[in-house]
Symmetry: C2
Subunit: 211 residues, 2 copies
């Protein structure tokens, strides 16, 4: 197992053992990230192997692991996604299915209201204007965020994609109106107000009647 | 009363009687629209007078009326908003408060699924990347869309802004995921599926318990 890295990759690459084809120079990381963006956008997360990314970047797979850790971490770095969903998941899941909608909205707002929210706004702007980024963000949302939450719910598996997509409509709409369009009173609302209002919506999309 | 115009302003200005300061040349319409964009974004819809727009554009107010009709129509032309909300309102309101959430979502999807949806996508993209357009779109949503719906509901007036904003989060999220990010299965879902799922959400935001 490759150890997890929780922090954003440092701007300065660490000293690496020499791995063969390509020395650890400042361009190597960017070459790997560019190859990862292409692979994840084109094939999706599941069908992309670290080995494929490494080949496209012209480096040894061990170097990709060394710089970026597991495939999930590489995906997050490729998208410059500001937080690691895996770290937030226990908070959202704690307590079981009941109240998961409110916890998901609360956690979502905490992240976007924090300093990393600016990176979220930049990512959303980029995805809206750039089809390539949109594909990456879409794939990230489905495989790294929604699937992880939905895997813990006891609902008809056939309904999972629709439920996940519906959750995405409400959360994306909150992000768009509160942080990008800055529509009042959503932009200035207390998080608790939005949790009370939108939490039950997300709860119904996750576990309730959506047909 | 100035007569309503339902169609988009024609690319070719009509022949106009001479109104004094500025002759009816092809630049006149664009000068009026630019002045209108500035005024609506800076002061808002209510505080903007046709007279102010005309002065900023250096034309007679009668010419503004002649080219664009009422202030609502001028606003819509300034934003290049693809449909006239006033024309859709009777469909949404027919039948009273019950079911208004489903009718609003259905009407919203009908517009976005139609050929004019492309203009909606362009407008959303522009608003996301440009603060000026975001201000215009925000003001348009509040005064031309949300207020008109909310005016017909018997709910606590103090709650109207929040209710309107919440509706905007769900509808904006649907537009963003279905038409811009093209997230499946939302992008390819039958309208009826989305109406059944998101209609009750919008209904609760409009008339239900949101605190």
């Amino acid at each position: 197992m490759t150890p997890r890295r929780d922090a954003e990759p440092a701007a300065q690459p660490r000293r690496t053992r020499r791995t063969g084809r390509r020395p650890g120079n400042p361009d190597t990381r960017e070459a790997i990230l560019a190859a990862a963006r292409g692979a994840f956008a084109e094939r999706g997360f599941d069908a992309t192997a670290i080995r494929t990314v490494a080949a496209a970047a012209g480096v040894d797979p061990a170097l990709v692991h060394h710089y970026f850790g597991a495939k999930e971490d590489l995906f997050r770095a490729a998208l410059a996604f500001p937080v690691d969903p895996a770290r937030l998941l226990p908070t959202v899941l704690a307590g079981g299915p009941e109240g998961i909608g409110e916890r998901l909205v609360r956690t979502f707002l905490e992240v976007w209201d924090s300093p990393v929210g600016a990176a979220g706004v930049a990512l959303l702007r980029s995805a809206v204007s750039n089809e390539w980024t949109a594909r990456l963000l879409r794939e990230f949302l489905v495989t790294q965020v929604l699937r992880r939450v939905l895997d813990h719910l006891e609902v008809d598996p056939a309904e999972l994609p629709l439920r996940g997509g519906l959750v995405a409509t409400q959360l994306a709409g909150l992000a768009l109106t509160r942080y990008v369009l800055r529509l009042e009173p959503i932009a200035g609302a207390e998080p608790a107000t939005l949790v009370a209002a939108a939490g039950p919506t997300v709860q119904r999309y996750l576990t309730g009647d959506v047909r």
